[in-house]
Amino acid sequence: MAPSASALALCVALLLTRRTDGEQLARPTHVRFDAEMAHHVLRWEPGHNPPRDVLYEVEHKVYGTNLPWTAIPRCTRISEHSCDLTYYTLDPARRYYARVRAVSKNHTSPWERTNSFSPQEASLRLSGQSLSVTGNTIHMELQLLLKEGNLTVRFEDVQRHARLYWVHIRRVQDNRTYEEVKTVTEFNISNLFWDTEYCISVEPDVASRHINATRTDEQCVTTGKRDRSAELALNIVSSSFITLSLLGLLGALLVCTYIKKPMRPPSVLKSFIKQSPLWVDQESSSSGSLDTDPIQQLFLCQKEPQQGSGHDGSAGTAQPSPEKGWRLPARPEDRLCLLGTESMGSRDSSCTSTDSGICLRTSSSSELSCSSGSEPQGYKQQLPISDDSGVGLETPCLHPASSSSSGKASLTETKQPHGGELGVAPATDRDSQQDLEFRGYLQQSKSTVEPRQDPAAGMVFSGCAGSLQSPGNTDIVLEVECSKLAVAKGYLKQSSPEHPRSHTQDLAAWGAPREPTAWDFSSQVGPQAPTLLSYGVSSAPLASKAGPELLKSPFDLTIFNTDLLGTLPLISSLSNNEWLTLQINPLSLINGDSKDSRL
């Protein structure tokens, strides 16, 4: 009925318009779809000079179909300037056209058509949102079902792809707003401030279109109060757990560190060691670790030159002849001295200059007797350099460092002035005298407490050299023990029983990288030096070579700087262990024959 009635009206209107050509109603203007989702409204403006009783008619059409223009019953002869066409334009896949004309009495205006309209062009809107607060998190759910009268339109049916939701979060207290993008309709907003009021609104969007959208109304909530007690409890528990685990780890490390394996003599020296009576003790303690090697190396080095210079031409061989009494203690200290001597060796063919303080026992016999022989020679040479091995009991080279009262890194040199601080570890400040006791290994060369020739080079080697500056005091005494012969009996343990303490202290000092004043560098280097030396000594020839070279160069810290420093850190760790071991070992030594350079 309605369609026929509208068709009739149309016919009449057409006839009327034809008759009254001259006077035509102005067609409505600005006819457009003003649509938001599920609410498609057609709007228009009246034409030019409309009569007072003008009415409008609306028709619509589906594009691509053979259907004709269809009038809208609700919008026939209406005086408003809008018409709701939602019901007729629901299919998102289709395109619609609408047209309007003005009617007045028996005049009608021409039709004014809109452009094509598709429901997907309608601006976006959500039907609502719901919030709930838990702690400092807001849980949101968006309602996408749009209801219009008895129509139900689903948002996701109209906009099928690339839906986004912009969540605008505004903090009430300072009006600060920030946005979050979500792609689902149910989400959480977390990390909000506690006990704060927030107002939230959501704006939908489609990523692949430029389309308008309407924000939802703001909804305000307040986040909960912070449950400090629970957090505190949790914090306490977790932190205590972490602390305990760290302490446990530390304890384990300490245990591992301080329970040192006995040092065992380096393999190269084993033969010698066995021969010498001194070794008896050492064997037990050897741990075979690298720690011991350095010292041994040192000693080896010493030995070599001596041997080389001494009777045998076995220079360069790191294996000290047993009879030389070169017992290279398995200690790393030996190594130090050894290396030291090597460097020094440059000066002398043998490690003479830098006596590593390793008293080479010239006598083949392992006895400490200072046999005169070439061996003593060897040592003698060293004597000039420094009588001691510079390697204090524990810290062969450390001593020098300790002696560095002057604060110079050079181990030996500085020490000597102090009078035999030599072996005294950083305790340079300590009574030199006491320290003198343990000089490390004094070359038994008689009284050759000569100060180390080479102050500069003193560094590691100096330590070894242990230039017993000490005016004939303890050093000499120690040497004397060795027997008048200037023979280096190997390394006299210059330390008296008390020394062990000092030495240990020294060692301890050594252990502490920074402790020695002057030793700072040396301490680093020192410990490392032994290591280095040890490396050098690793290969017999190398040891010998290294020694001289090292010794040669005036204690150039630079050397260490460039070469060693890089390794120093590494070594330091190593050396720390070594030193620690040394500490332990020297102690044992001390207990033993003081005279021996038993290491």
Partner: protein, 176 residues
Amino acid sequence: MKRSHLFLCLLSVSCCLNLMPTAGNKIFHFGPCRVSMSVTEIRSGFTAIKANIQARDTIRTLSILSHPHSLHKVKPLDRCCITHQLFNFYVDKVFKHCKTEDSFVNRKISSIANSFLSVKRKLGQCHEQNKCLCGEESAEKFKQILANYEGLNVTSAAIKSLGELDILLDWIEKSG
């Protein structure tokens, strides 16, 4: 050293972000064929001239693309073939006949045509790699579209096809 590392890291991150497809630049799956296309760009270009172009199309009873059996109910396997054929159709038969007197409109049409050209090339590669298999049904549908097109004179058909670009884009989005 650390600063350069940081800078390098930022640079690589920004490069990665740039490589990621933007919101409009989506990767569409037409069966086994994957094409990256910026629908937003095409759509924005089209929206600028949509009113103008569609106003020139006076025939509303006939549609070239929205014939009931043209783009509706296309099987996923046939999508690649139909899309390939459609893009070929647009590049070969539509854009060149859409010259208007408005230079702005012409510019926009050119940019749309360029985008279509690149997508057509990608689809052609898929076709060569045998990822776009053309079955009988897709052939049938495309024949219908062609028939609709040839039912009108060339210019109006071209303008109408151009005016129906949004239908095509909607369909691509739906299927992609």
